[in-house]
């Protein structure tokens, strides 16, 4: 799936837009309100969905090679978070959905991606 598809399904607005050449192919989504959960995931090429807005979200995204951060519940992150994102070249979006609703919205897309993969492996 593509980054742009996810953003459209969530009706998210960009707060820090991806730079030209930013990877657009997304493999998975990691939804969590605990940074520890994101740090413990083994997912690759994933996008973070979270209600957390501190600069630490960006640090964690950077450490885990996340492709971007979508902030849910319509929260506005502090400037320090956006500054960290720009510095680390981690794109950030904001959507008004709750975390659970955002997962529901993305589920068909993720399902489709997974079934494609399982077909490819069988």
């Amino acid at each position: 799936m593509e980054l742009q598809e996810i953003i459209q399904l969530l009706d998210a607005e960009p707060l820090v837009a991806p730079e030209p050449g930013h990877p657009y192919s997304v493999h998975d989504v990691c939804a969590a309100d605990l940074l520890s959960d994101i740090l413990a995931t083994k997912k690759r090429d994933f996008v973070i969905l979270t209600g957390l807005v501190t600069p630490q979200v960006i640090r964690v995204a950077e450490a885990t090679d996340a492709l971007g951060v979508v902030i849910v519940r319509g929260k506005t992150p502090p400037e320090a978070t956006l500054e960290a994102a720009r510095k680390s070249r981690i794109p950030v979006w904001r959507c008004s959905m709750q975390l659970f609703e955002s997962c529901v919205a993305l589920a068909p897309l993720v399902d489709e991606k997974r079934s494609e993969e399982s077909k490819a492996h069988s």
């Binding site: 990691c30 939804a31 969590a32 309100d33 605990l34 940074l35 520890s36 959960d37 994101i38 740090l39 413990a40 995931t41 083994k42 997912k43 979270t50 957390l52 501190t54 600069p55 630490q56 979200v57 960006i58 640090r59 964690v60 950077e62 450490a63 885990t64 090679d65 320090a80 680390s88």
Partner: protein, 320 residues
């Protein structure tokens, strides 16, 4: 007779007294008079040089006697201030040898209540004078020298240990000092680690594991310790992350290693931390992991190899 010194009160001051010789402390700037000088000259000389006693010497600087303020007073009372000094001087003078340990001279000064002692060499020639002030100054100088030498030794040791880690060929070192609860700085160390690994072109999954381990330990030190030092050593084979904090340690490391165990408070949890996954995740990300957590401070060492022998062993859990 030996003076007994209570071992409890035996201080570096005493050590210096035993170690120093009289010649190390005495003043060599001698103010002397010949035996034919008058008591008035002796009094003027003592006043001008602000000294309380003046040695009287014959040819070859041999000590003939000593004129003290007391002697001058006695001459004045007798209305004999113009008499030669050898009439009023003290002839049986208590002296000390230049090679004697300083402690012996100190005992002599104390025992007899003298303000000064003439110092003689092996040929009985007057070579100096020793006062209580000279003793104090010499001991203080010695203690000061010793303190400086100790500082230099410590600095040398530190420099050598730093060199051992900093300048080992082929080893790149990263160091970040962490202050308690300074969450704004969290991620600085992990960011530097990741950047260094990226520059070296190590496999992305290895860089990711190292960055996660570095971040977890960094946040732990910030949230749970009184501050500490984080270091990373990069070689051709891998990266070693070393975290040393200033305490208070971990009461039960086995509990802390269990997933979900956390001592974090509500404030920490509200920030998205404190899920009790830190230590287990560090261990999962590392090829080698060790922790010791006495009250004096926790030390965590993690090694991540660039070409791990069994990559499957690092399987991290699927939890989202």
């Amino acid at each position: 007779m030996r003076t007994r010194i209570d071992p409890v009160s035996y201080t570096p001051f005493h050590e210096a007294l035993y170690d120093l010789r009289v010649r190390d402390a005495m003043s060599k700037n001698l103010i002397v008079l010949g035996p034919d000088a008058t008591m008035l000259e002796a009094q003027v000389s003592m006043r001008d040089h602000r000294i309380s006693g003046i040695p009287i010497v014959t040819d070859g600087n041999k000590l003939a006697g000593l004129v003290s303020i007391q002697d001058v007073i006695e001459a004045l009372v007798a209305n004999d201030i113009h008499a030669p000094v050898d009439k009023w001087m003290t002839q049986k003078v208590c002296t000390v040898r230049e090679k004697f340990p300083l402690i012996q001279a100190v005992k002599e000064l104390q025992k007899k209540g003298f303000g000064r002692l003439p110092v003689l060499n092996a040929d009985d020639v007057l070579v100096g004078m020793l006062t209580n002030n000279d003793v104090t100054r010499a001991v203080m100088l010695r203690l000061n020298e010793e303190a400086k030498a100790a500082e230099r030794r410590e600095a040398d040791l530190l420099a050598r240990s730093m060199t051992a880690t900093q300048e080992r060929p082929g080893i790149e070192r990263i160091e970040v000092r962490v202050e308690p609860m300074d969450l704004d700085a969290a991620g600085t160390f992990a960011g530097l680690v990741k950047k260094a690994l990226k520059n070296r072109g190590v496999p992305p999954d290895v860089a990711r594991r190292a960055a996660i381990a570095a971040y977890e330990v960094e946040v732990n030190v910030i949230l749970h310790s009184m501050g500490g030092i984080l270091e990373a050593f990069l070689s051709g084979q891998g990266i070693t992350i070393l975290s040393r904090d200033r305490g208070p340690g971990i009461p039960n490391v086995d509990d802390a290693m269990k997933e979900g165990f956390s001592t974090a408070n509500e404030v920490v949890r509200a920030l998205g931390f404190g899920a009790g996954m830190g230590l287990p995740n560090m261990k999962r990300c590392s090829d080698e992991f060790s922790i010791s957590a006495p009250a004096s401070g926790t030390t965590v060492t993690m090694k991540i190899l660039f070409n791990p022998p069994a990559p499957a062993s690092h399987a991290v859990q699927e939890n989202t």
